[in-house]
């Protein structure tokens, strides 16, 4: 199994605080990997390092054998990584469809073609009936869906999802899990997701990486990871308390 994304020895400090420390893992092509851990574990920082928001102090990120170091976020997108934001960032004054059109224009020069692609993606994310509404008028679950739709429209080979299930009701979680599973199974989309909803992590992911205080403390199948005493102590146990 070839690795699509390889993160190797990644470190990042913010004014002396070690946000991410020597983290390595790889995401195999066509799989779903979940990144879990308590708040402040360095998950979103890891995402931002992969997405080129800021440079790493040490370590490398490679996509299909190509080093991504030094690239800007738009170049990372062009390389094939789509991302969502934990705190959703819709283009508020634009309609839902226009939001997704902007995503589709990443790989498409014609606005008409991009619009057709956007409509297909909206259909997929069950947002088609909201297409003409201003994005700022959407409910939170729909905004989360819009984040995924916009990232998906850039036609990524790897999709980074930052807590897209947080704040959703159980039925909505199930619907989103279905959509993501479908994208993965049918189109072979590789997904790297930060997630707190353990039910979804167990249902979706092939592999789980656990971070704590910026360091990787476990890496394995969902079953292996939830049985790991260190994971139970630092994360799962804390959640039950």
């Amino acid at each position: 199994m070839t690795a699509l994304l390889t993160v190797s020895g990644l470190s990042k400090r913010f004014r002396g605080l070690k946000a991410v420390s020597n983290v390595s893992f790889s995401v195999p092509e066509g799989r779903i990997l979940a990144l879990i851990g308590p708040n402040g574990a360095g998950k979103t920082t890891t995402f931002n390092l992969i997405a080129g928001v800021f440079p790493a102090d040490e370590g490398t990120v490679t996509l299909k054998g190509t080093r991504l170091g030094g690239l800007k976020p738009n170049q990372i997108c062009a390389a094939g990584i789509g991302r969502t934001f934990q705190i959703v960032k819709p283009f508020g004054a634009l309609t839902v469809e226009e939001n997704v059109v902007v995503g589709a224009l990443a790989r498409e020069r014609s606005v008409a073609v991009a619009r057709a692609q956007a409509r297909a993606v909206l259909e997929r994310l069950e947002l088609a009936d909201q297409a003409a509404r201003p994005a700022r008028s959407l409910t939170l679950p729909d905004r989360k869906r819009l984040e995924v739709a916009r990232a998906l429209a850039t036609r990524p080979t790897l999709l980074l999802l930052d807590e897209v299930l947080a704040g959703l009701r159980p039925t909505e979680v199930d619907r989103m899990v279905e959509v993501l599973r479908d994208l993965n199974r049918r189109e072979g989309l590789t997904i790297l997701m930060i997630e707190h909803v353990m039910r979804a992590v167990m249902a979706l992911s092939d592999q789980v990486v656990v971070l704590d205080h910026g360091e990787k403390i476990a890496d394995g199948t969902p079953a292996e990871v939830v049985a790991d005493p260190r994971v139970v102590e630092s994360y799962l146990g804390a959640e039950e308390a």
Partner: protein
């Protein structure tokens, strides 16, 4: 737009087309002023309205366009139709230089606006000392009464009226095409959320630089018009902070980021100023500053009650544009 909106737009266009035939000199001169502000307002709107870049120094591009074309005409006899190309080029060069400084070195938001003011002020003071361009004493274009020479933009007020009307319609068409293009979508995305725009593949630097280039080029044409219409240029006036503010008012009042907003805004503001002058004179209340006081109060009232601009509200009320969710 709805059918009703298109009908109204065509009617307004026709009315403007025949205005010089039915109106007197005063009407033509007021309408020329209105259209000039509508034009530069549209040009400014490309930066602020489409791309979220607040320029408070747009008089700079008016001045550069005016001085470059006037100097070519006065010193070398080169007419404005050729001169405007160099005028636009110089304006774009300066605009993109400011943009380069701002966007490469992360000068954002308010600080970018300060940068635009700084350059306009440097030009205002600097041009005072360029004797070749008349310095603070002003640069004057030769005026010959009764000459009609459209190729050199010399002629009657009616000629100028139609030139500025064509510029407004041209800028409106260009803005519309740009807004519906790939670049236009990327501008709007950058305006709404730069970080999210970058994440979906938008090159922020490039998007912002093209907005500055388009806006400064269009504004320079407004300067060329101004030079040949008024036939005199003073750095104190053309580059002034007050002029920069006058340029942004039509879009703010009409609706920032909309296509019709800057035009409607100009049609509200200039007649408002003229009307106040008339009323104050008729009332015999010739106190200095009184007009500015009323003008300011009227502006504040509009902005307080229609913060998104008059056009979006009017378009909704009169159903001139299709509302979100409505079918074609």
């Amino acid at each position: 737009m709805t059918g009703r909106g298109i009908v109204l737009l065509v009617l307004a266009g026709l009315l403007l087309a025949v205005a010089p035939l039915v109106g007197d000199r005063y009407v033509v001169s007021v309408l020329t002023t209105v259209l000039w502000f509508a034009y530069v307002g549209q040009a400014w709107n490309v930066m602020m309205g489409f791309s979220g870049l607040l320029s408070l120094g747009h008089a700079l591009y008016v001045g550069l366009g005016a001085y470059v074309s006037a100097a070519l005409f006065v010193h070398y006899g080169i007419g404005p139709w050729a001169g405007m190309l160099l005028a636009m080029l110089v304006s774009v060069a300066v605009g993109t230089f400011i943009g380069f400084l701002g966007f490469r070195f992360g000068v954002k938001g308010v600080h970018f606006s300060l940068l635009t003011i700084a350059f306009a002020e440097v030009a205002r003071i600097g041009f005072d000392h360029i004797q070749w361009l008349g310095g603070s004493g002003g640069l004057f274009l030769p005026v010959e009464a009764g000459v009609s020479d459209p190729l050199n933009l010399r002629g009657s007020p009616t000629l100028f009226y139609y030139v500025i009307l064509a510029l407004v319609l041209g800028a409106l068409a260009l803005s519309r095409v740009l807004l519906h293009s790939r670049l236009g979508y990327q501008w709007l995305a950058v305006r709404e959320d730069p970080e999210a725009a970058e994440a979906v593949g938008v090159d922020l630097f490039r998007a912002r630089m093209t907005a500055v280039a388009v806006s400064s080029a269009l504004t320079a044409l407004g300067g060329v018009f101004q030079a040949f219409y008024f036939n005199n240029l003073f750095p104190e006036q053309v580059f002034s902070m007050g002029r920069s503010i006058e340029i942004i008012l039509p879009a703010i009042v009409g609706g920032i980021g909309t296509l019709i907003g800057p035009i409607l805004g100009a049609f509200i503001l200039t007649p408002l100023g003229e009307g106040l002058t008339f009323l104050i004179e008729a009332g015999g209340l010739d106190l200095p500053g009184l007009k500015q006081l009323f003008y300011g109060v009227a502006l504040v009232t509009i902005v307080v009650f229609r913060p998104e601009g008059v056009w979006p509200w009017l378009a909704r009320r009169l159903r001139l544009v299709r509302q979100p969710g409505e079918e074609a």
